[in-house]
Symmetry: C2
Subunit: 370 residues, 2 copies
């Protein structure tokens, strides 16, 4: 079996799906590993590092042409269906709900499409393969660094000979993996951290990493399936925005991480709420992307300064900013997925397996997962 | 008595010498406070904030023309002697050793020059006025944020379902105020921190903030006066550089903060040492400025990437990056200095006072402090 590592093509994507330190694990499947020349460069892994780990470095086209399994991490290129051929297995973060047409074309091309974002995350034996968690962990940590670097005052309380400096007040919206990592990191830096989530069952997790749970009157609960939140009704959302605005005006830093699977991210911070913040305040919107964001005025992959002096950072792919760390975690997740899919040196699809039923999107010419 | 707050003119200087929250303390001296229009803008203090605090906002020239005491923070403009007049008191960070000609001209102009960098820092009643400490505190904190944002991996150790991530290894060179704040902040973020200083008596302070003290064979001790280090001989410095290079090659992040009063900053990190570091490593040089730096390849106020993938950040004025916090601390220091200098609404120079003997550089047409 040949496992190929593609060179990512999406703008701003610096991650790579496999890193040298994990290559040796794949050899044990057993498998040969082919790496597209330059694939790891933006993540600081040189071609020579892969060669030394036992992989072969080849031209990018050779990877698509000859690999049995293709590994990727970022959004796929538009012409992907033309590059692949029947019998290949594609493993990546494909977010099939966002690209139904591409999925249909891949099914027609006869490839097995495995999308890690569809992993049944609440299943404990799936955790080693949980790429959404590993990437959200990076993004949540990074969000705090980005916020602290943009914030022109201290996060920790300081007691000095000339007086005391109060700690920064940080509000984290959404207490999933990224939110919890952001809460913990902001606490590490000494900030006072509040957090809000429509799922009341997250209170305990928020408190376990040092945050104070914020309850909004007349909003929620809104737990959905698979550990995610459900989308709120328009009325619920309006009340939520108003209640949040009162909290946001008092914050120095707001970090938003709310996602609803298969839907646009919920709008949590309105333009009016931003206008009520003090000069020097910072907002980091981890949901900012092509389908919207949590903050009305955020712009994906851009930092803006509002008229009232608030810095708003649209940061939908912060994991890519820490490409070496994010890629290493992702490669370990991929290795765990391969351990589920591969038997005796070949991919064996078994849709009775709960993990495979989640992640296998197309197989044998069919769409297997709606 | 009229106290004037100038608008800073040095490139990149965003701080302001007085902030609205401290204006009311000056009123009690008693004094009127005149603020140059726009003086606080880059530090996020609007003219209206000063007016509300009881100050008068006037044209910048009016401040120089009519104030009895002039407050500043950054490097003075070249034409300062032409702007001031006999009998005025100037309070700022003038670093007289770096500008002897300017000092002579100010003496001839009949002004009283008070330079806060000459404060006897080991005197406990001087601590509230210690502007070098307050600004170094900001710079040391900021250095870690800048380093962590440039470093593409995690600072803390992470234990996840897919494996463990080792913590970053951070080396801090120079364990003065900035160094100790950097050690403490890097520890807060979860890094493993080593620190080196030629003054062995700093070991206890390094350990008290969570760092591991590094001892170099055959180098030092080199304690100087006033709590500072003395300059090393050429031979001592060469041995120090070689011993440090062996440490530096293993580090993910190096933060350098070494200063010797009245001399160029010591060169601690040679070009060869930088070449031996791993791709993705980060160096922040807090000493990088017009008189050199601690790192051979650093460029003041610039970030460079070396051929071997090391990010080197020349960051000699990080306090200015956190202008609101740095200015607030500085304004409190200035208020403490004024409490020493002012009696019954006027400046009274008393060179028998130990603090004044340190900070008063020129008075009554004479250079009073060499």
């Amino acid at each position: 079996m040949r496992i190929g590592v593609v060179r990512e093509t999406a703008a701003g994507e610096r991650r790579v799906a496999m890193v040298p330190e994990v290559v040796s694990r794949l050899a044990r499947l057993p498998a040969e590993v082919l790496v597209a020349s330059g694939a790891g460069e933006a993540a600081l892994f040189a071609d020579a590092d892969y060669t030394q780990a036992g992989a072969q470095v080849v031209e990018p086209d050779t990877v698509y042409g000859t690999a049995d399994v293709l590994l990727s991490v970022g959004p796929p290129p538009d012409d992907l269906p033309d590059r692949v051929h029947s019998g290949q297995t594609l493993i990546g973060l494909y977010r099939p709900a966002t690209c139904p047409e591409l999925v249909d074309r891949l099914a027609a091309a006869g490839v097995t499409l495995v999308s890690l974002d569809r992993l049944p995350r609440t299943l404990s034996r799936a955790q080693a393969a949980d790429a959404l968690t590993s990437q959200a962990n990076v993004a949540g940590y990074r969000a705090v660094l980005v916020a602290a670097a943009a914030y022109p005052r201290f996060f920790p309380m300081l007691v000095t000979a000339a007086g005391t400096v109060r700690p920064a007040e940080v509000l984290v919206l959404g207490a999933g993996v990224a939110g919890l990592q952001a809460i913990g990191t902001a606490r590490r830096l000494g900030a006072q951290v509040r957090a809000y989530d429509v799922r009341p069952e997250t209170r305990e997790q928020v408190e376990s990493v040092g945050g104070t749970f914020v309850t909004l009157d007349d909003v929620g609960p809104a737990a959905g399936t698979g550990g995610y939140a459900r989308a709120l009704s328009d009325d619920e959302q309006r009340v939520q925005q108003e209640r949040l605005a009162a909290q946001i005006a008092r914050q120095d830093v707001v970090i938003t991480t709310a996602q609803v699977p298969g839907a646009a991210p919920p709008l949590l911070v309105t333009a009016e709420a931003v206008k009520a913040m003090r000069p020097g305040s910072v907002i980091v919107d981890l949901a900012a992307g092509p389908y919207g964001g949590n903050v009305a005025v955020s712009v994906p992959d851009s930092t803006i300064r509002t008229d009232n002096g608030v810095t708003v950072i649209g940061a939908g792919n912060l994991a890519s900013d820490m490409a070496p760390a994010a890629s290493t975690a992702y490669a370990r997740n991929v290795s765990a997925v391969l351990a589920v899919l591969v038997f005796d040196g070949a991919v064996h699809v078994d849709l009775d397996d709960e993990i495979q039923a989640g992640i296998v999107i197309t197989h044998a010419g069919e769409r297997t997962n709606p």
